[in-house]
């Protein structure tokens, strides 16, 4: 077989992408001569991606993982000639075929158990034909579907680019964060390293997405979903290949009739006649009425054949004696007593639906691989345990974790807290003086002349006082309890609290899209910058707290990215200022025009325009603080190190 070759650009150099004659290695040889600069063993290729057909550029991306656990390295080949498409296709087809063959023979990759028919080779054939359709979009790879065990392997998830792409396709905001962070990351971090970092904090998302993607709908009662419709006296039937297959699986009788008749009868005719026949009604469990036209082909068959056949299959399975009720009957000589069976258990001809549904459910279940296989030898013991009458036993011993709570007061014996301002003030006090003072103070309460106190006088509120004169009188000494000035101050404080709470509860008008007067475009930018910054902070702290010396270099880059993040925030702030200035300028212009036109002045102040640097900084202040803290911690660790290294040297 010919080995295809593609004229490609790799790292902006022209060259030929091809495979070695033994088809074990992919090579890329520059046109400038010399040996192949890229040589990838096919066995190490973990994924293969191609740009979609619609894309003007034709590129092939080969991801190689040199060894287990190593970072995958991506090679991007750009097919730049006029026959780019066909060349790329040829290379890719060959590669993916080799790839699939390789994978299917690889015993280390767990595969889902192949059930029933279909030899592995047939499957491979299918995979190589159907698995790499020409319209393969960038992002869909030829990686065989990983088996369940892979969902629990963090490394695998981290490297599964297909899965990541599909997750980002689903989660737009994640995609934006990813793209933004990717484009603004410091150049010193490689894309692969960044990728690993980014996804390592989102393994759980990947896992759940992967599992979700791989869940399939099980078999269902397919006949009930096919509803032939009569349009203009003509029967319309919409039936897919899958449905046909499922009908055959669930109703062996239909399969038999199909096999016997279809070459003679056209397929369309077969199905339309079937869905009108009495048999199909019976199989669905519907009532057959005399008005239904009989069909010579179908109605000679008894629907019970279908049911019976499959039931016998289920009955053929060995039933453990301990739960075999029929066996019990046999053992005791059967039920011959006068007690009739329950009404639901008695055979009735005219209620087919129950029977049909039962038999259908049994059939569906019979086709599902059992998930709870129990070792046959243990089965009777297991069943025996299941059947045991547990409520006849005595109370079980409570199996709880005992919480031994030790006396809590003793914990605080070794307190070493720094005394607060209050505590320091208290330390200076003489207890006896304090007591005397308090007791004396209590005696000062004004007597109302009748054994009580004169509250009115004590609260010190003077209704007649005019605040102004009182203030001038009080300027010298501190305001007394209940004076106008303190009441006003207290009122102000409470009102502040109320307005604060109010805005928290109801928000300001139009706040959600344009916070603090920022335009929605800038607000969005702030949100994105924030998300990116948090991402970098996250990565920084994971590396910083890991205490892993191997990640030190990475940490340095991440610290650098924090500095960049701060710069990005200020860039957004600058943009906001610019926008605000323009708004002000425009408004001034409008006012001037209005004045020239009408001779009226509009009262307006520049302060009325929101947004600008202040607004952005106010929004981003917590983020900036977080950046500062991270940088300071890093600097401190560095400084501590600096001292250390100098003493060591």
């Amino acid at each position: 077989m010919d080995i295809p070759a593609g004229r490609t650009l790799f790292k902006k150099k022209e060259g030929i992408l091809t495979l070695t004659p033994d088809q074990k290695t992919v090579t890329w040889t520059p046109n400038s001569g010399g040996p192949a600069t890229v040589s990838l063993p096919v066995a190490n290729i973990t994924s293969l991606q191609q740009t979609p057909d619609s894309s003007p550029k034709v590129m092939l991306k080969i991801v190689e993982t040199a060894s287990e656990g190593a970072d995958p390295v991506a090679y991007l080949f750009h097919f730049n000639t006029s026959e780019a498409k066909s060349e790329a296709q040829a290379v890719k087809d060959l590669l993916s075929r080799i790839f699939v063959e390789l994978r299917s023979n690889d015993p280390s990759i767990p595969r889902p158990a192949v059930s029933g028919t279909g030899t592995p080779s047939a499957q491979n054939g299918q995979a190589s034909k159907g698995g790499t359709p020409a319209s393969m979009a960038l992002g869909s790879t030829t990686t065989p579907q990983p088996a369940a065990a892979h969902w629990f392997d963090d490394n695998h998830l981290k490297n599964d680019i297909e899965l990541q792409m599909s997750l980002m396709k689903k989660d737009k905001s994640l995609h934006r964060t990813y793209m933004e962070a990717m484009s603004t990351k410091p150049d010193s971090i490689s894309s692969a390293a960044f990728n690993t970092q980014f996804w390592s904090t989102r393994i759980n998302l990947l896992r759940s997405h992967g599992i979700e993607k791989h869940q399939k709908k099980g078999a269902y009662n397919v006949l009930s979903t096919v509803k032939p419709r009569t349009v203009d006296g003509e029967l319309k039937l919409n039936i897919s290949l899958e449905q046909v297959q499922m009908i055959f699986a669930q109703h062996p009788l239909v399969k038999r009739i199909y096999n016997e008749n279809v070459p003679k009868l056209s397929e369309a005719q077969f199905w339309s006649r079937f869905f009108l026949s009495r048999l199909s009604k019976k199989l669905r469990g519907e009532r057959v009425t005399d008005s239904d036209p009989p069909d010579a082909l179908f109605d000679k068959f008894d629907a019970n054949d279908n049911t019976q056949a499959i039931q016998s299959k289920i009955m053929a399975q060995s039933v453990p004696h301990i739960i075999d009720i029929e066996g019990n009957e046999e053992n005791q000589g059967g039920v011959k007593s006068g007690n009739a069976k329950d009404v639901e258990m008695r055979p009735r001809a005219n209620i087919p639906i129950v029977k049909t549904l039962n038999s259908l459910s049994e059939k569906i279940m019979a086709n599902v691989a059992p998930s709870d296989t129990i070792d046959d030898t243990n089965v009777s013991g297991y069943s025996y345990g299941q059947l045991a009458l547990r409520d006849l036993r005595g109370d079980e011993k409570e199996n709880r974790i005992i919480l031994n709570v030790t006396e809590q007061t003793q914990f605080f014996s070794k307190r070493e807290a720094v005394p607060s301002a209050n505590a320091q003030a208290f330390a200076k006090q003489n207890p006896m003086d304090v007591l005397f003072e308090i007791q004396g103070d209590l005696e000062t309460l004004d007597d109302d002349g009748a054994g009580g106190i004169d509250i009115h006088a004590t609260i010190g509120y003077n209704e007649d006082s005019e605040s102004d004169e009182e203030e001038s009188a009080n300027r010298a000494r501190r305001p007394h309890v209940g004076s106008r000035s303190v009441i006003r101050a207290a009122e102000k404080e409470i009102l502040q609290g109320i307005s604060q709470q109010r805005s928290q509860k109801y928000g300001h008008a139009g706040d959600s899209t344009t916070p603090m007067g920022l335009s929605s475009h800038l607000a969005e930018k702030c949100a994105l910058t924030h998300a990116t910054t948090i991402e970098f902070l996250h990565q920084f702290w994971t590396a910083f707290l890991s205490g892993d010396p191997d990640r030190a270099a990475e940490l340095q880059y991440l610290a650098e990215s924090l500095t960049n993040s701060a710069a990005r925030i200020s860039a957004v702030a600058d943009e906001a200022t610019q926008e605000r200035d323009e708004t002000i300028k425009r408004r001034k212009q409008e006012i001037r025009e209005h004045y020239e036109r009408t001779g009226k002045k509009i009262r307006w102040k520049a302060d009325m325009v929101g947004g600008g640097r202040d607004a952005v900084l106010k929004l981003m202040q917590p983020t900036l603080d977080a950046l500062e803290k991270a940088k300071a911690d890093y600097a401190r660790a560095l400084a501590a190190e600096g001292i250390k290294t100098t003493t060591e040297n």
Binding site: R415, L442, L445, V481, A490, E491, G497, A552, L638
Partner: protein, 357 residues
Amino acid sequence: MDAVDVSDHYEVTTSEETPSLLSIVLDTNPRAWAALGNVLPLSKAIANILVFVNAHLAFSNSNQVAIIAAHVNRAVWLYPSPPTAKKPTDTSGDVQMQDASTSAPPGSANKFPQFAQIEAAVLASVRKLTDETTGEDLETTTTQLSGALTLALCHIHKASQQLSAAGTNLEDHTKSSAATNPMKGRILVISVSDSEPAQYIPTMNAVFAAAHSQIAIDTLSLSGDSTFLQQACFNTNGTFLAASNPQGLLTYLMFGLIADTEARQSLIPATHDKVDFRAACFCHGKVVDTGFICSICLSIFCEVPENTECLTCGTKLALGNYGAKPAVIPRKKKKKKKIVNGTVREDTGSGAGTPRA
């Protein structure tokens, strides 16, 4: 026919009015009041609080009040007075004749008898409390708040029990059982001192009990740093006010804290939005913002306890990635790292000749 009548509407609203019980916990820490004496003496504060209490009682005949002093070494009932040996007092807050008759026989004609009653009881109890306080009691500088909170909770519970039991006639009974609480209870803490870390556990227990029975804890902090009360207010949907002008005490009380739990639903509270959520660690009583938590009993530790065994429940704790290298050890690890780092930096610095941030 009746339903069309307007009076029906009024009837419904009046019958649904549930009594409101206000329990005031007054922090009577003598040291704190002495320190605050220049600004707001205790005597004036009590007078102001009495005005507030009267206002609360004036709202409705069925409203009740309880005042408890949280002292440095104990919690004391100020009103209603604790039962004497001779006569069991009525804890529902009804008029107590013997107090009034012994202390002030005639009473002022200008004062509503119940107000005079409360006033007399409170003053007598406060004076008694200060007289009983000895210099040794002042060795402890912080207030025993949790005891007072617990007393207030018990009182509210008891009062609401009595109220639901008192509804003997059928109509009343169905009404009280229909409502979740026969009484709107709330606790107002007037705090002048710091939160004592040692009181964290009992205080928070009281707070959770209050939250469970839908009792709001309000706080007016006149001085000091009442961290736990901030959390208490937050957890129970109460109002937290830190008064920067303690002289305006009455304004804070009347303006910010007069609304009971029902009225509050239609009002915007003046509560401060800053809440210090830090907890005190169980091992040293330090207030911490980052710490370790036992996965079994949720005890908080500021550092990994000895032998990584939880001090409270004795569970052997396994430390994750982070805990394996607590705050100090990563630094030690970093030493190695930084050496690597340093060399890298030097290399790049000298090789490329570009300055690095």
